[in-house]
Subunit: 218 residues, 2 copies
DNA sequence: ATATATATTTAGCCTTGTCTAAATTTAATT
DNA sequence: AATTAAATTTAGACAAGGCTAAATATATAT
């Protein structure tokens, strides 16, 4: 059975290295987990010992199959809890993350599978991120960044790349949520800002924003 | 903010010493928490430092008001989660405790208050134990041990004193649950076993059993 | 190819919470 | 009251997980 700390390291590698398939640097993990590189080295060694990561000195780490499965399970729990908080406990999408960071470490097969059923087997969390199934598989839907669209393109908002409180609050203020319909009106060459039509209102959004919104073209 | 371990020590004192009002011995805490007396001494000192317990060498510990409130909050969370697991996630009353032991340490005011509302403000957990309100108060209902009743007394089962898996399984097997109606038919002088009427069936139960069932006389 | 900068690892220390063994205090018996 | 037993505390050690500073390896720039 893994500790909370070990689970967090596996999750970091999972997120930073394409589900753990790509090598992730010590520094990147330290940044993600808000710790020091030296602590990361220690922990990676321990995880390698337990056959959860592949590690070669100075070459970063990837997840083993066992490590990937564990990380996916933690992510699954995180996202299912986020759904529960929003759907049943009146949390807003910018309030769920910290609590889910705690709940994702609760150990009970039955709990998570029953929660999954209770929520009617959701496929995505409140930020549009896919929920791994109990075998760690995610079926990836095709989505792209709003920034990549051209004038006259229409799409639905299906996810956020940055799910920081600040960005989510910005979206709330501008009445942008999952499912919101966008039509690209124009794109400024100078700074790549966009004018888009939302609910019959035109709004100008910066490149930073369009680069952090996932959409599905329709 | 307290650690998981500190919370568990406070809870132990709360449970062993009448909500922490009575002095609890080092050994009793060690037994409850499954640790060694020397570890308890260390932790009690730390909690006294933080003004959560009153401690005098060799005299055991009581909870301060602050400690009592914290302990009650942990117990509140534990019991609310138990209700959730039984009511919404298909857990049986003998399956909830271990998971609640983990969930009780999740830190979020909003989470627990929303959970309380979601469950419609339950007053008792699946074992009949009262749920403290957000101020740590419990309104105690009058209940007594089945063992104290006399022939011809009738009552409803309102709680279990021992909520071990073994006892709960025994009750399941004998179709005894919260709300079950009992009528005492006779009491054996020799071993204090009782014959009671349950669902029009007479059953003989040992003193051990009648001493662990809380009932409300009607 | 060499020098410099950056990334990573190592070494040594710290805190939390635990343990065992020894010392001390309190409780129980003679 | 003196002795023995039991409970409690102290002393010293350890593992987990973290940190800082120093050493080493890799990457970048001259
Ligand atoms: Mn999240
Ligand atoms: Mn999310
Ligand atoms: Mn319980
Ligand atoms: Mn209970």
């Amino acid at each position: 059975m893994l500790t909370l700390s070990e689970e967090n390291y596996l999750k970091a590698i999972y997120h930073l290295g394409k589900f753990g398939s790509q090598s992730v640097s010590t520094n990147a993990i330290a940044e993600q987990i808000q710790t020091k590189a030296s602590s990361v080295t220690d922990m990676i060694k321990k995880l390698a010992e337990k056959d959860l990561v592949n590690y070669k000195k100075y070459q970063g780490a990837t997840l083993t199959e066992s490590g990937r499965l564990t990380a996916a399970s933690v992510v699954r729990k995180h996202r299912l809890w986020e759904v529960f908080l929003v759907e049943n406990l009146n949390f807003k999408w910018d309030e769920v993350h910290e609590v889910a960071e705690q709940l994702e470490h609760i150990k009970s097969e039955k709990l998570i599978n029953q929660l999954d059923a209770f929520l009617d087997f959701p496929t995505h969390d409140p930020h549009g991120d896919p929920i791994p199934d109990k075998h760690g598989n995610i079926k990836k839907t095709d989505k792209e960044l709003l920034a990549s669209l051209k004038p006259s393109d229409e799409c639905l908002c299906v996810g956020v790349k940055d799910s920081s409180k600040e960005f989510l609050n910005y979206l709330d203020k501008n009445e942008i949520a999952l499912g919101t319909h966008f039509k690209v009106m124009s794109k400024e060459d100078f700074d790549e800002s966009m004018t888009i039509l939302i609910n019959n209102e035109t709004k100008s959004i910066s490149k930073t924003v369009s680069n952090n919104l996932f959409v599905k073209v329709i």
